[in-house]
Structures are given as C-alpha cells and as structure tokens.
Amino acid sequence: MELLTLAVALASLTYALGALILGLPIPYRPLKRWGPRLMADAVAAMIIVSSLGILLWLSDKVMEIIGVTWGNFYDWMTVRFTVLLAVYGGLQYVSTLLRSSGLDILLPIVSGTVSAVSAALTGLRLIFFVALALQRLRYYFVILGSVFYSIPFRIGRSVGATMISIGLVAYIAMPALPLFVEAFSPDVPGFSIPVNHTIVVDVKDSVGTPIPYPLLELRDSGGEVEGVIVGDMYGRVVLGGEKDMLPPTFNYSIRVGFLGYYFDTVPGFITELSNGSTIVVPNLVYSTGVGVLIHDIIMEVVSNEPGEIQLRAVSVLASPEVLVTKVAYITDVNVHIGNITYGCQWVRSYWLDIPLDTCQVTGLEPGDMLSIDYLPGPYPGPNIREKRIVYGDSVEEMVESLTTYAAAVLYRELVLPAMYMGVVVSLTVAAARVLGGSIRLLPR
C-alpha cells in the first residue's frame, strides 16, 4: 500500500511539474510542450494506479473464462519433469547397455537423445522458475510498475508499462502453456527400452565344486557364436541385466572353456527360463588350481580337497583318456596310481594368457586309485574380451525408437514451449505499448 501511495504522490508531482512548466514565463516552445505532456502522463498514471484493482480482477476473470489455473500448470510441469527424468534414467541405462555390449557405434545416437532430453529439462526448469516468479511476484510487478510509470519526465515509463503488462498479461498467458503444447504436439510414440531378462547360472564340475572364471560360449541354432561370457571366481555367470540385450525367447547351446579345454555341459543349452540353474561339466574334477579331465572312463571321486584329489576308476570304455592339468605355478605335484608314483610328462601350453601344464595319465584299470597331491593355488581368470549378447531386432527397434523420441522430445518439450514463451513476450510487449511505452527488443 505504501508503494501505491508513492505512485499517487509521484503522479501528483508530475502533474504539478507539468503545470509549473506550462506556466513558466519563457516563450520557448520545446520546453513549453513538456507542460501538457507531463500533465497528461500524470493523469494516465493516476488512471492506471486507480484502476489497478479492477485490472487485476479482470485478469483473474479472463483466466477463469479461458479455463486455466496455476494449479493445473504446476501439475503439468511436474508430470513433464517426471517423464523426462525417467527417460533420462532409461537412456543412461541404454548407454551402459550399449557400451558393455560393444555397440559403441550407437552411442552418439543415445548421447544425442540424452542431450535433447537434458536441454528440454533445462528449458522446462527455466520456464518453471519464470512462472514461479511471475505467480509469486505478480502484485509487486504491477504496483512497482505503476510507481515507475508515475516518475516525472517519463524516466521510468517504459519499465513501468512493461512491468504492469507482465503482471497482467504474462500472468494470464503463462498457465496456458500446457494448452498450447498439447494442442500442437504430435502423437509421440512411446519410448521403449527392450525388456531384458537377467539370467544367473552357476557353473560347477562333476562333483559340484564351483569352477572359477568359467568361459561360457553361447551359440545359436545355426552354430554361430552369439556370446562369450566370463563368470566370476565363484563360477557364477550373469547374462542380460545391464550387459546383454537378450531376445524375448532364446535357446543357446553352450560350452564351457576352462583350463584350455572346451567342455560339453549338462544341460547343454540356456534358455530364457534358465535363471538360477546349475550347469555341470561332467568330464571335469577341479580343486584349487588343478583339474582332472576324464574321457571314456568312469571314475568315482573319493576325495576332492584343496591340495588333494583322489579318484577311483570304475569302468573303462573304448578309448580312455585322463589328463591332469594345472596352472603352471602350482608346484609340488605328485601323481600316484595306487601306491606307485606316476612319472608325469608335463607339457607346457598357454591358453588366454594362462600358463598351463598338462600330464596325460595312461594305463588305468578298473579299481585303480588315482591320487594327486600338490600345493594349492588360485586359478587366474582368462584374458579375453567378452562378447556380450546383442539381439539384432531389439537394437534396431531401440535405435528407431530413440531417434523418433529425440525428435519428438526436442519439438514438444523445447521448441513448443520456446515458441510459446515468444508469444507471451510479444503479447506483453504489445500490452506495454498500449499502456504507453515498452522495452525495445530490437534496435530501430
């Protein structure tokens, strides 16, 4: 109210100054012209100050007629924020997925969409703060504007007129943003991230000992390698999740690479239903750095402790083969058949940067006890670049969906609100001009 009184007092002063100049005994026209001009300004200012209440009431009434409210506006903004933040999170997930799947070539598309979304977020945040300031400071805008408007010699006339019209026109126009955007937005196809399974399997040897860092090789029905995935030190292999894009249904035949050999497994395949299952390598007995590979011979495991493996031959088939393979730095290895020490011929080989020594044990008869004792040690993981599974259709679908969505987001969340803000500014400037002055947006 103090400000309103000040505005009235300033208008009175302007009027008095106008009368003074009009009455000056100086017959100089350009100076004299300021007299009536100031008086007219003072009257205009007084009319505006006196009708502020009516003007504010009218603007509220217009909002009511159009059917826009600030509550709806904020609701709409909240929904937009939520959607964009969800999409932002989804895109981060997709980029992680692409990076781990070796599809780095598609990353620019995703990062383009991320840029579009973050630009839209920034734009919306800006509009939100402008709207908040407009709603909260509306009365200050109008009253302060009228004070500026009343300052003598048209010093604050333009600023005042602009502030008043911001408080009246922009205040009505701003909450109508959702109506504008909804009226001109295209039907945006929903952004879809392919639904992904997460499949965890445990790889174990014939007696249930976890095989560390198993190399799981997955082939499709055509025999083509679709993925090469290394498990962790506890033999756990994770497919899908953030790392693979699995098809909705699949049936991959599998082999496990370990100690330089590729083993058939039971079961020999992985499907979308395999989560939580155990994959057994039947031809292998493993313990802390040493593995016994068995082929065409049935052996019973007597003991499988760190540093000691004991097997008894049960029956021998057509071409029996027993290989003792160890990591090269496992030392003090003694192989016995019964009580007789077997003279092992260790053959050195390298498999994926792991040095391995292999000894072929021959001459086993049913009932023979094969025992190996050694100083146990860890098994190092194979040095291999994983080939994660990327399902072609889901990539195509995702890229298409991403590009469409990026364009739609740019148009809907950035271009349309920016256009509308332009309209609001134009309306405000026009209203300010009607009131008697306006900020000049462009130089003449």
């Binding site: 009184t5 009175s12 002063l13 008095a16 003074l20 009009l22 009455g23 000056l24 005994p25 008086m39």
Partner: protein, 89 residues
C-alpha cells in the same frame, strides 16, 4: 521522513512555486502585451504567456484538487480495520 512524505513535500513546494510562476507569467505577459513596442510578434508572445499562465492556473487548481482527493482515498484504503467494540463495563 519516508519517501512518500518527501515526494508530497516536494509536490507542495512545486505547486507553490507554480502559483508564483503563474502570477509572474501573467504579469509579464500583460506587461509585454501592454508595452509600447510596435512589434506584433512581441505582443503575440505576451498574449501567449497570459494564455499559458491562465491555463496553467486552471489546470493546477482542478488537478491538484482531484489528485489530492485520490491521494487521500488511496492513503485511507490501506488503513487497518477499526478495533472491534469492547464490552462495556
């Protein structure tokens, strides 16, 4: 002294000056008009000074009255409600 009071004081001073200026202009105007100078242009200047002075005085009288009234109303709108009646006794 608040800004409003300062502006009001200034307005009163300007008005006072304006009234004096009106008188001076009116006198000067008539003096020029009635001077024995046979130049039409000078006489017309005197005439216009008188006219301006009279107009200024008229608008000053009307304007200040109306403005004072509005100012009075505006400064009274803001005053708080009177206190509720107290029970007697």
């Amino acid at each position: 002294m608040s800004v409003v009071d300062f502006v009001r004081d200034m307005t009163v001073q300007v008005m006072t000056v304006a009234w004096f200026v009106f008188l001076i202009t009116w006198v000067i105007g008539w003096a020029i008009k009635g001077s024995p100078i046979p130049f039409h242009r000078v006489k017309r200047a005197g005439q216009s000074l008188v006219e301006d002075a009279v107009l200024a005085a008229f608008w000053l009288a009307i304007g200040t009255t109306v403005f004072a009234l509005i100012s009075y109303i505006v400064s009274n709108i803001g005053t708080g409600m009177p206190p509720p009646p107290q029970p007697w006794g």
